[in-house]
């Protein structure tokens, strides 16, 4: 993964985590796998940066956690959105989409009309 991709991933990690937790509670490794799966393998989350991000979101009151055993009998820490987290997910997603559209617009313009030197 290039440095730029890493930076972009870092900047979008919070919004991705909030959106991934929108419908059900999930544990850390599950989130890593989903990021990989839904990005068709393009995004390889530096797994070590996942927990600091989750713990920061929890500290900010956007998510809460609880421990629950899975079928294999091993307890895992699940994260779920709080009411504030749900609102933040909607808001951050809207901002992110607006940002992506803005960047795409500039890039398209650049591609179509190259500036003469």
């Amino acid at each position: 993964m290039s440095g730029l991709q890493r930076e972009l991933l870092k900047g979008s990690l919070d919004v991705m985590l909030l959106v991934l937790l929108e419908h059900e509670a999930k544990y850390g490794y599950q989130l890593v796998k989903e990021v990989r799966q839904w990005s068709s393998g393009v995004l390889h989350l530096q797994e070590g940066s996942l927990y600091p991000a989750l713990h920061r979101l929890e500290r900010n009151g956007l998510i809460t956690s609880f421990w629950q055993e899975r079928d294999d009998g091993v307890p895992r820490r699940y994260y779920q959105l709080t009411t504030e987290g749900r609102a933040a997910a909607t808001e951050k997603l809207a901002l992110w989409e607006q940002f992506v559209m803005g960047v795409q617009g500039v890039l398209q313009h650049g591609k179509l009309r190259p500036t003469p030197l």
């Binding site: 544990y27 850390g28 490794y29 890593v32 796998k33 530096q46 797994e47 070590g48 940066s49 927990y51 600091p52 991000a53 713990h55 920061r56 500290r59 091993v74 307890p75 895992r76 820490r77």
Partner: protein, 279 residues
């Protein structure tokens, strides 16, 4: 990256936890369990036996350096007030020890009575008691067996030397062979310095490596000093032959012990105050 040849997962989790020394035991236990489950899940996904060292190393690589993960986790949890207190208590203890040792040097060169010099020198380890406790607390996730042994080796001499000094110099209690006993206890001070240096270098946090090496050097000096004194006592015929070692070591210790204590004290105090400002 640290050396993870044996039990890579255990070492990795310990190294991450070393950076979370300020958090409560309960919170640390949760983080430890969460990391451990993540590592096992990732190993299981690779389809290899989770105990296989090569599998564990490739999983660790995906998580990133333990130092970075530990620091990011510490940042995401903020700085609890209790952690600042530990640093400040340890720093104050080390600085007090440096001050007492320096006072002993001043009294020695100013020609005061031997008792006064002896009092300051022997009471100096008492001030290091908080340092022993604080470092045990801050390094509690690194090699717990070694850490507990270091605590015992530290508590016995620092506490006993101080008690003996108080008994003989303040309460004027006549204790037979107190010198021999004190000497054996000071030997443990040297051993403690070597043990805590090893632990700190393994943790790669709190005490900078150069300071841990200075501490180990001070520890060796204590051991050499006590060894040469013991040789003098047991084999008086060798007095002339080892006296240079004794005098050289005394001079060296007078210089480096307070320097080490001063450096350690200012490092801990600086860290504690920096954390307090950031909180």
């Amino acid at each position: 990256m640290a050396n993870y040849d044996q039990h890579p997962f255990d070492r990795y989790v310990q190294d991450v936890m070393a950076h979370l020394h300020g958090l409560s035991d309960e919170k640390c236990a949760e983080i430890q369990a969460e990391l451990r489950t993540h590592l096992n899940d990732a190993a299981a996904e690779l389809g290899q036996h989770p105990d296989d060292a090569a599998t564990q190393l490739s999983v660790i690589k995906r998580l990133g350096s333990s130092k970075q993960v530990g620091r990011e986790l510490a940042r995401s949890h903020g700085i609890p007030i209790a952690a600042q207190g530990w640093y400040i208590a340890g720093g104050a203890g080390a600085l007090l020890s440096a001050a007492l040792f320096t006072a002993a040097i001043i009294f020695l060169f100013a020609g005061y009575e031997e008792d006064a010099v002896e009092f300051f020198l022997s009471i100096s380890p008492l001030a290091l008691l908080p340092v022993v406790l604080v470092l045990h607390r801050l390094y509690r996730f690194i090699d717990p067996g070694w850490n507990n042994a270091t605590l015992i080796v530290g508590l016995v001499p620092f506490g006993s030397i101080a008690a003996l000094s108080l008994a003989s110099t303040v309460l004027f209690v006549e204790l037979a062979d107190v010198g021999v006993l004190q000497m054996s206890l000071f030997t443990l001070v040297g051993v403690w310095l070597l043990m805590i240096g090893h632990l700190a270098r393994r943790a790669q946090t709190i005490i900078p490596p150069s300071l841990t090496w200075l501490g180990s050097f001070v520890g060796i000096s204590w051991l050499v000093l006590l060894g040469s004194t013991a040789v003098n006592m047991v084999y008086p015929q060798l007095v002339g032959k080892v006296s240079w070692l004794l005098s050289g070591n005394i001079l060296l210790l007078l210089l480096i012990h307070p320097l080490w204590a001063l450096w350690l004290g200012s490092t801990l105090l600086h860290d504690g105050l920096r954390r307090a400002r950031r909180a």
